[in-house]
Symmetry: C2
Subunit: 199 residues, 2 copies
């Protein structure tokens, strides 16, 4: 005979759906929620639904936004002639943390991956090309990750863009700042050598 | 200038409150929720509030339950003369998994820890003593963890129970099944030696 509490099992199941959360962790989180005040649990639940309801995609760059046009696209001080193309909204946060990029962004919403059934139609590539048609954009920086999918996506998009006469660039490869040469893989080191600059 | 999305920040903040979830993970989980269908997010939120609302403490053993008396306490086939005293409901799941314990439980809801301001009044010790007053209970197994707090709690409670003429036992210490002697700490090994049994 087993003594399951349905409501608890259901909550564990919900937590288990989250990425990187296994059964044990889901159980721990569920117990934690049960230990919260009802008002706190209610607030958590409401915040989740509210975020989901208020946050949509910016109609220009496809970044997450609580208005039709995101704050970066709406900011007139940002350089609209440069578009940095990234995989997802988290990458925007990463670039913003550098405090050195003042152009705009375009979020692809993923990377090309035929194995997973993700083709150009599943990404916001059409929307990117539409932005280039105004003739205002001078440079597109491909900032997809240095992985097989990231490279393929960057190549694919750059081939679509070049005929439009827009400059397409790619992030530099090289050794990460603070990294040690000893642990750099040979491809990275080769790329760092190849991309060396005069001092 | 920063470009925060309030609803997203709030959701990240809620996830960050969960135990073992740092800022990066909270962000990842929040983004995942934003990627869910609205109905799924709503279901998650509802499940959380429902679990919190329907699950209370069993009035006998203080375990989590969706009814006044939990399924184990309500089960007439379980041996009510033996009570296994544990720290929290997760320990009950652990014992049930052995499929070898057929007595009842009592959940303390924590361990004595004067440093954290947790004294006997914060635990369900009074409720345990009340259960012993019926004279039906023959043995109380102290199954608190083998830590300083767990030991102190077991000692404290056993001293309260012994005068009532009820047998108090403690879980055996020893080497874990499947463990290697090489990595067993000296205290565990000493206890295993001390508690050796004739073959």
């Amino acid at each position: 005979m087993s003594y399951h509490i349905t409501a608890l099992d259901e909550l564990v199941e919900q937590f288990e759906k989250l990425p990187g959360i296994g059964h044990k962790t889901a159980q721990r989180l569920a117990f934690y929620v049960l230990g919260m005040d009802l008002t706190d649990a209610q607030l958590f639940a409401d915040t989740m639904v509210r975020a989901k309801k208020t946050i949509k995609r910016c109609q220009v760059c496809q970044n997450l936004s609580d208005s039709d046009t995101c704050a970066i696209c709406a900011d007139t001080t940002r350089d609209k002639s440069t578009i940095c193309v990234v995989e997802d909204p988290r990458d925007v946060f990463a670039f913003e943390r550098t405090k050195e990029y003042f152009g705009s962004y375009h979020i692809l919403g993923g990377l090309l991956s035929p194995m997973d059934g993700i083709g150009p139609e599943q990404l916001f590539i059409k929307q990117l090309l539409a932005r280039l048609s105004s003739g205002q954009v001078k440079e597109v920086i491909m900032a997809t990750p240095p992985t097989v999918e990231g490279e393929a996506t960057a190549m694919y998009i750059s081939r679509l863009i070049k005929p439009l006469g827009v400059k397409v660039t790619r992030l530099a490869y090289g050794i990460p700042v603070g990294g040690t040469l000893e642990y750099a893989d040979e491809v990275t080191l080769y790329r760092a050598l190849e991309g060396r600059n005069e001092l």
